[in-house]
Amino acid sequence: MAFQILLNFVLALVWMFLSHSYNPTSFIVGFLLGMLILLSFRRFFNTRFYMIRVWAVIKLILIFIKELILSNIAVLKVILKPKLDIKPGIFALETELKQPWEITTLANLITLTPGTFVIEVSEDNKTLYVHAMDLNDDIQSEIDGIKNTFEKAIMEVSR
């Protein structure tokens, strides 16, 4: 992955030297050409073509922004409600993620989900204890569904 990005930058620089034009335009052209060559020779490397991972990161950022907006709207609704009929609770969430940054990202994403946030990660990094603002059986399965999409999106990046 890092090797491919580095090689792409080197190819962009080589293109600048070859075309005797040292400006951002020729760098971009060289970068795109290098990306095209790397794409057609992607099986040469034993890792995936790196743009797939970059695309996965972009998707994760888009999910992050979307959840941020939705959670703020959900909290706003609860605050503006005249009757306080929410049922708070804490539940445990098993996670398959291993790397520290993966768990951190998942915890941050859960915190941004409407009405949930992580209060504790267990000693062996396998269980997240999540506090839910409004907990009942229906929402339990719904939240687990959201978590599966987050976990899948993070795995897509680190795979």
């Binding site: 090689l7 080197v10 080589v14 293109w15 052209v29 050409l33 057609s40 040469f44």
Partner: protein
């Protein structure tokens, strides 16, 4: 005796890409400077031959699953259809057209249909060279 090719293989992983980039440069510089479809195609097949030498023929087939004989046909078709553009426009065969266009990144660029003809030449050269080298290399 099987020797260890690690230096050759590691160097090839970088050098092959630089050679291909240079071949693209040669291809596009054909109109104003030395270069063109023929030498660009030869350079590209040189990079593929380098990978063949450093690794083996099966690796190249796995990296680029292309039938090079089809590449010859595609190249000839590209060149002939570029020539036929002139016929459909009411001009003689192989008449070329060009114009200046404002492209998003490149800025003011002159585009010429001769480049398409050259692309056909490029494909034919790559196809012929790789067909020759592969069929000689595969025969026992």
């Amino acid at each position: 005796m099987k020797t260890n090719d690690i230096i050759l293989q590691t160097a090839t992983k970088v050098i092959a890409f630089v050679i291909i980039l240079f071949s693209i440069r040669l291809f596009f510089s054909g109109h104003y400077y030395a270069g063109g479809g023929f030498v660009g195609g030869l350079m590209t097949s040189a990079a593929l031959v380098l990978i063949m030498i450093a690794f083996d023929m099966k690796t190249v087939e796995w990296i680029l699953p292309i039938n090079y004989r089809f590449l010859i046909g595609i190249g000839l078709l590209t060149s002939v259809s570029t020539g036929l553009i002139g016929v459909f426009m009411g001009d003689p065969f192989l008449t070329h057209y060009f114009g200046y266009f404002d492209l998003p990144i490149l800025g003011k660029t002159s585009l010429h249909t001769a480049a398409l003809f050259d692309l056909g030449v490029y494909f034919v050269v790559v196809g012929v060279t790789m067909t020759i080298i592969k069929s000689i290399g595969e025969s026992e």
